[in-house]
């Protein structure tokens, strides 16, 4: 298994580096901040095929690194493929949406994702995501590129610094969460215990989802990287409930933003379908590898990739 996962890593590294080197050259011969790949010299089928291979590998890495596919998809595909950032963000939202839809039913049935916690949060995040999507499509591309680069580098900071709390200590539920009856219980199979949970700082947490929703819609990133710290560290939901509810939440947040991109024409089937299928197949393989490997090191590889891709987005935005 170790040998096999090493081979996957080798393959990934080669593919990633090949895209890094060959991407801009195949696309236009030089880095272009706005017109990503209008004059691609490669046959048309090379890019969807490359997209499938890369998203398959991203699907594996996303599972092992504990991040959503969207957060890797947008900066990497936006940085190294010839597609315009508008289409990349549209595809990124649909990739994140498809992953969330696929995970949602299981998480809800097991009681890990909590509907009472998700619904008020989703209403705020999905409304904000519409605004974010409209802003993203209205702003000049280089401004969005710069903001994307800064955001990705910020995500790297969050990943490096944010702590996690398995079972946060919530002494008393606040008035708002009590009124909304946001509390729950789930069965933890590893300990055989039923875990009771409640939340606090609900108003502040809900306010944070305005910003998260806008960023999700603007950059097409998905937003698990922000959802989980807010649900877990700020509002005090247990880590498993936070991760599961965050994943489910994306299915609602990304739905609203995805419709804005669909209605504005920023969706290309030739990008969306190979990406969704690639990342879903990769996720399935990733789950199998995850059961037999220790993914701690993978997290640092993901951070390095995001650092690289975020830096590239920033430089493209600045026209460097």
């Amino acid at each position: 298994m170790c040998r096999w996962s090493s081979r996957v890593w080798l393959l990934f590294s080669v593919a990633f580096m090949a895209m890094a080197v060959a991407g801009p050259a195949l696309a236009t011969g030089e880095p272009q901040p706005v017109m990503e790949g209008a004059a691609s010299t490669a046959p048309w089928w090379v890019w969807p095929l490359a997209l499938f291979v890369v998203t398959f590998l991203l699907g594996i890495v996303a599972v092992l690194g504990g991040v959503g596919g969207g957060v890797l998809f947008v900066p990497i595909v936006g940085g190294f493929f010839p597609f315009h950032l508008d289409f990349v963000r549209g595809a990124g939202l649909l990739v994140a949406l498809a992953g969330a839809l696929a995970a949602g039913p299981g998480l809800l049935k097991k009681g890990l994702a909590d509907l009472r916690l998700a619904l008020p949060v989703a209403l705020i995040a999905s409304s904000a995501a519409i605004v974010g999507a409209m802003m993203g499509l209205a702003l000049p591309t280089n401004v969005v590129q710069i903001a994307l680069g800064v955001t990705i580098l910020g995500i790297v900071g969050i990943m490096l610094m944010a702590k996690k709390s398995e079972y946060p200590d919530v002494k008393q539920a606040d008035a708002l969460s009590t009124a909304l009856r946001i509390n729950g219980i789930y069965h933890e199979p590893s300990s055989g215990q039923d875990i009771n949970w409640k939340i606090h700082r609900t108003a502040k947490g809900l306010a944070m989802f305005v910003i998260i929703g806008i960023m999700a819609g603007m950059f097409g990133l998905g937003a698990g990287w922000a959802n989980v710290p807010v649900l877990n560290l700020m509002m005090g939901a247990p880590l498993k409930v936070s991760v599961a509810t965050s994943k489910f939440l994306l299915s609602i947040t990304d739905t609203s933003a995805a419709w804005v991109y669909i209605n504005q024409g920023a969706v290309l089937a030739i990008m969306v379908v190979p990406s969704i299928i690639g990342i879903m197949l990769g996720s399935m393989v990733g789950v199998r590898i995850l059961a037999k490997t220790k993914p701690a090191a993978v997290r640092y590889i993901v951070i390095t990739m995001l650092l690289f891709a975020g830096g590239r987005a920033l430089l493209k935005g600045l026209g460097i």
Binding site: T28, M35, E36, G37, A38, A39, S40, P43, W44, P48, P82, H84, F87, L94, A98, L101, A102, G104, P105, G111, D114, L115, R116, L119, P120, L123, S126, I130, M134, L137, A138, L139, T178, A179, L180, R181, N183, I185, H187, D194, N196, S251, I252, T255, W259, V260, I262, N263, G265, A266, V267, L268, A269, I270, M271, V273, P274, I276, I277, M280
Partner: protein, 156 residues
Amino acid sequence: MSDIGVEQKTLQGAAQEVRTEWKGATEEQLVYAGILDKGMKLGLAILVVTFLVYVFGILEPFIPVEDLPKYWGLPVGEYLQQTGIPTGWGWVGLLGNGDFLNFIGIAVLAGVTIVCYLPIIPVFRRNRDTIYATIAIVEVAVLVLAASGILHVGGH
């Protein structure tokens, strides 16, 4: 005790309710999950089939695949202008083309969440959970607004 008094007592009791034992997911959660599961699988299946129809040229695409590289690097506003593709739900009129046929699956995936909300509204109302019934209704309105195509963006 009057009916209003009984209702108030029931609501207060519900508000203070804290479950202490795992009894499985709630009714509304299971209803939502069931529809989500079916819709997601349907959407993905349609997406795969229509993509095969597209790439194998069974239905002629609106934009020939070999011309795609001329357009996919353009900002969306310019792409729409050069190709003459309509915005909003205009794609429905282009479903006879292999590329736009894929939008059926995309629309199912993007629409399933709206459908999931509809049957949980009566569940909340039956349980006299007015706040959550209202949240669900407003969420449907937000998602329908996003999907309607009414919102226009001044392109870059």
